[in-house]
Symmetry: C2
Subunit: 109 residues, 2 copies
Amino acid sequence: MGVTKTQVFTDKQNRIADLAKALAHPARIAIIQHLLKEKSCVCGDLVEVLPLAQATVSQHLKELKNIGILHGEINPPRVCYCINETVWQEAKAIFGEIFETEITQQCCN
Amino acid sequence: MGVTKTQVFTDKQNRIADLAKALAHPARIAIIQHLLKEKSCVCGDLVEVLPLAQATVSQHLKELKNIGILHGEINPPRVCYCINETVWQEAKAIFGEIFETEITQQCCN
DNA sequence: AATTCTCATCGTATATTTACGATTGAATCG
DNA sequence: CGATTCAATCGTAAATATACGATGAGAATT
């Protein structure tokens, strides 16, 4: 995309947007769903589950790691991924806060 | 970005990703927050609130309209925007479902 | 009819995203 | 040591996103 003018928004707005961006791809949703459901969280398993090349899966994992949602643990010769509970709770709270708002106003009357 | 291979993912995974993508920019978060908080939802008000050009705001509004989160009501010479409660509830349910999952497994032990 | 107001759209420059093959790095196995 | 395995990274092509000035469309006002 182009350059997002992050500096003109609040830290919180930027954080919400970043967390949402991490969820803004079906492959990453699939990765998260898999990690929530299965015990196995080895990278190779994800490559089998997802119909994407290994390099692409690795790239998606990197994004999820960068935002903090996942962390990987090297367990040679494999790498085990799991959800970072702290960030997961943060995301849960942030989205929960947004959606808890009741839509009171009937706009445009 | 590149081409997302949407056809290899489930409809639900794609829908979640699309809704997340709508939230994946601080300007759109700011727009939604404003619409949740204020009564006024006229486009011009948003242009004043956001430190972005009118064309840019209009573009963000269009994206939120496309995904269904907002709808606009022409009220000459203004356009009044409001949150589409149906889609809002859908998003609330979808994200709620994801985050309600308990993280049981202590991965990589 | 001309002006003004509000907002959408066009055109465009630039940056980022997605995807994949190829390669590299690290560690185990034979 | 050489071969193999697993995963990250590199390099790259193509598509998409962001931002903004300029222009266009529609309606009310002067």
